[in-house]
Amino acid sequence: MPFIPHTADEIREMLAVIGVQEVEELFAEIPSALRSRDRGELPPALNEMEIGRLMRERASQDGQPLCFIGAGAYEHHIPAAVWEIAARGEFYSAYTPYQAEASQGTLQLLYEFQTMMASLTGMDISNASLYDGASALAEAVLMAVRINRKSKRILVPATLHPAYRQVVHTIVHNQGIELVELPYCTDCGHIVPDSLQRFSGGDFAALVIPQPNFFGVLEEVDTLAEWARANDMLAIGVVNPTALALLSPPGEWGGPGVDIACGEGQPLGMPLASGGPYFGFLCCRQSHVRQMPGRIVGRTVDSDGKPGYTLTLQAREQHIRRSKATSNICTNQGLMTTAATIYMALLGPAGLERVAGRCHLATRRLLERLTAIEGVKPLFDRPFFHEVVLALDVPVQPLLDRLARQQLLAGFNLQKDYPELGSALMVCCTETKSDADLEQFATLFGAAVDDLRRSRC
């Protein structure tokens, strides 16, 4: 029996101890009218070899194209050691570290994770992960409304990842929280500080500030954070952790920094994996810690006075506080933070800085090559980070489809989310792309643009 160790003799012995004849008797309390008669059409059992073959076929069906899509998920080199260690049974198959003394491995690691994330974002406190970047922002919004009770309205720029805006809406609107859109400049792809004027003095609990924004464009974060503070709103930074190796951390924006910083942890050693599992991180000022959702690990001592680690401030959590908890989150993305911690330890500050630098350099080089192609221009003329929007004189979708068949995923089509931008394609380079890859991209891309243009005249 797959995964069941019982022998016929043992089953007999066990039933005898219980004092029943058959296993079926153990289900006697289930009203028989409810019992499933029909087994449905579940497929028959496969052994590991058979399912292995099926899965290998399916995985290879999905191919390994050259991928220049970013848009919230980034292909980075992941050191082999990261998952070799994170997948060790002791990390992989452990539960939440409720029994602290039997979970010092996970707990110490999380304490190190919190320290790394706090330092990366420049914030005082980090929790031990939320589901993903988008839901972390939703939690940040809820947190902001709990802290700044003056309003249930949140100012959210249109340059924030569209899916994040959708997720936040899904999660917060049932509590009567309203997201108010802050428009952006379609020429430069960011929030023009002057445009804030008309929201000044408004009734908002918080301003969300993405850096870089969805387009890869750098926002004037210092000005935005200052404006929020001046207008009695909390500031919530949404950041890419790789970018933070180069860019000023939210904890320092506009001087004292934001109140809450969050984002998607995927770039820190998570494979793309069709979108998950990734993890959301959430950091805040010390003064907000009791409104923080999610688990937090603290350092303490044991009865000999020896340092040790344990879950702390659990009174914020659902298993203690139930309906008064800061969030309903229970299971989080623990294993992913394990991987992220090992990733950050292997890279170190200099390594992560080089990753960010290389990504950006590669994107600039790609931009140069692509804009040398007729009909391809940069859409925005603003500083950016490792992601850039191109204006094309041919329609984007047919171009992408065609290149996909050539095993090149050439970028993210902005048509659906930002129709006002016209034929706009967002491309992204990471350190995984060699000069030869850029060359190949430019060649295939140039040919495809040409062809498409010709086929239209």
Binding site: M1, I4, I11, I18, L34, S36, G40, P43, A45, G52, L54, M55, R58, A59, G63, C67, I69, G72, H77, P79, I85, E90, F91, S93, A94, Y95, T96, A102, Q104, G105, E112, M116, S126, Y131, G133, T170, I171, L246, A273, S274, G275, P277, T300, D302, T312, I320, S323, A325, N332, Q333, G334, M336, T338, G348, A350, G351, E353, H360, L361, E431
Partner: protein
């Protein structure tokens, strides 16, 4: 020793850092970071050694018996991990076009949706919630959307039994509902009279698990369903305990309108020291339009994503992409290795193990919370008497078990049973392990009677002794300051 304490300024790890052959990457000064973050500067070997050694300080399914009630700590097949980690799956960008670069993974997800529909008796399934609690959120949000669409906006109350898991009331609040607690009767069932008194025009629905967190099957479930439905409410099924009934009885057949599953429990995906999991939701007819997106559809040309466009009445998105795909793949592989018979066997052997262990512990003198009931896949004992007689409470018993090489059962949950142990052995443990565990329990009981200080001081064989939780809160130290 912390990794930071092994750090030395200026140490780098060039094997893991990309080459930078040009300094042109600089971003304008005003955007730039001024001071490097406090990440450790260690060699690859130092990192490997540090985290390998840390891992050894954990109890885990791969190393220990872990009878943690409500958590279903069963074996996580290594094959699921290896196959979900095939390069074609790991390398796929979430925005890769599904027609040319996603049919493989979408096929798995589609089939998983179908399988979960089958085993739950529901009409539609969305896989996107990233854990049980997010599944609860999705489920309750669908209940809310349903009432709202019907113009039934006065239903502002969700009923939750007092034995429910903390995520249930917390979720109700997140969805903007008020929570009304329903008491449990002395046999562990919902107090039906109290329930009748609680329903009314404000009732949006009820959140239940069955078997409940008390380890017993709610026998009058159809009656409860009738009460709620007649009052205009809907029934939510918390699927955390599905392991108990897989293939035996389906939530859909019990009358539930919406359900979440914890794939990291029933479907053996690993808990990873806290996550990630996956919490797919299933619904009956009434809630079908509201399922969260994306979902996977099939047409002749192949599989495709169902989004807001195809499903405009959806409650929306819960994650930036498609939830925890890697976990869904693990669960899919597991279901395929089980097949139809394998599913049912899970419930049978999980139940056999729980009842056997319950009887053995009762024979050893432990007091069961519901002695007249059959165990489901788990059961509760109370150490109330022992705590009174010996001074050693459930916490002390739990810590002492660690010294015997067992992870402790769930303690102090559900809150209504004093000094309780919620014990769930799961189907993947063999009889000899249960026997040894029962012996260890007896041994600890004996120690409690003769030398309770052993329990009070426990654990004494682990990397640390009993930790000071109070100090952890009072002198909050959650970030290393060097």
């Amino acid at each position: 020793m912390l990794i930071f304490e092994q750090s030395r300024s200026g140490r780098t790890n060039p094997t893991q850092a990309p080459r930078i052959d040009e300094a042109r990457h600089a971003v304008p000064q005003r955007f730039r970071r001024r001071q490097r973050p406090l990440l450790p500067e260690v060699s690859e070997m130092q990192a490997v050694r540090h985290y390998t050694r840390l891992s050894q300080q954990n109890y885990s399914i791969d190393t220990h018996f872990y009878p943690l009630g409500s958590c279903t700590m069963k074996y996580n097949p290594r094959g699921c991990h290896a196959l979900a980690a095939l390069p074609g799956f790991l390398g796929r960008h979430p925005h890769a076009p599904e027609q040319t670069h996603g049919q493989g993974v979408l096929a798995c997800l589609f089939e998983l949706q179908e399988i979960l529909k089958q085993v739950t008796g529901m009409r539609g399934v969305s896989l996107t919630p990233m854990a049980g609690a997010q599944g609860e959120f999705a489920g309750v949000a669908m209940i809310r959307a349903y009432h709202r669409e019907r113009g039934d906006g006065e239903r502002r109350e969700l009923l939750v039994p007092d034995a429910a898991h903390g995520t249930n009331p917390a979720t109700a609040i997140m969805c903007g509902y008020d929570v009304r607690e329903i008491p449990t009767d002395s046999a562990g069932d919902v107090d039906i009279e109290a329930l009748r008194r609680s329903v009314g025009p404000r009732t949006a629905g009820i959140m239940l698990t069955n078997p409940s967190t008390l380890g017993v099957f709610e026998r009058r479930i159809r009656e409860i369903a009738d009460i709620i439905h007649s009052a205009g409410g809907l029934l939510y099924y918390d699927g955390a305990n599905l392991n108990a009934i897989l293939g035996k009885v389906r939530p859909g057949d019990m009358g539930f309108d919406v359900i979440h599953l914890n794939l990291h429990k029933t479907f053996a995906t690993p808990h990873g020291g806290g996550g990630p999991g996956a919490g797919p939701v299933g619904v009956g007819e009434r809630l079908l339009p509201f399922l969260p997106v994306p979902m996977v559809g099939r047409k002749e040309e192949g599989y495709y994503w169902l989004t807001e466009q195809e499903r405009p009445r959806s409650i929306g998105r819960l994650s930036a992409h498609m939830g925890n795909v890697g976990i869904l793949l693990r669960a899919y592989i597991y279901t395929r290795m089980l097949g139809a018979e394998g599913m049912e066997r899970i419930a049978e052997f999980a139940t056999l193990n729980a009842n056997y262990l319950m009887v053995r512990l009762a024979q050893s003198g432990f007091e069961m919370a519901f002695p007249e009931r059959l165990a489901s896949h788990e059961f509760i004992l109370t150490l109330k008497r022992e705590a009174k007689q010996t001074g050693a409470n459930a916490m002390d018993f739990a810590k002492r078990l660690l010294d015997y090489g067992y992870h402790a059962p769930t303690i102090y949950f559900p809150l209504l049973v004093p000094e309780c142990f919620l014990i769930e052995p799961t189907e993947t443990e063999d009889k000899a392990t249960l026997d040894r565990f029962a012996e260890a329990m007896s041994a600890v009981l004996c120690e409690a009677r003769t030398s309770p200080e052993l329990l009070k001081q426990a654990p004494c064989t682990l990397p640390v002794k009993r930790l000071d939780d109070v100090k952890a809160v009072r002198e909050l130290d959650v970030v290393w300051k060097g």
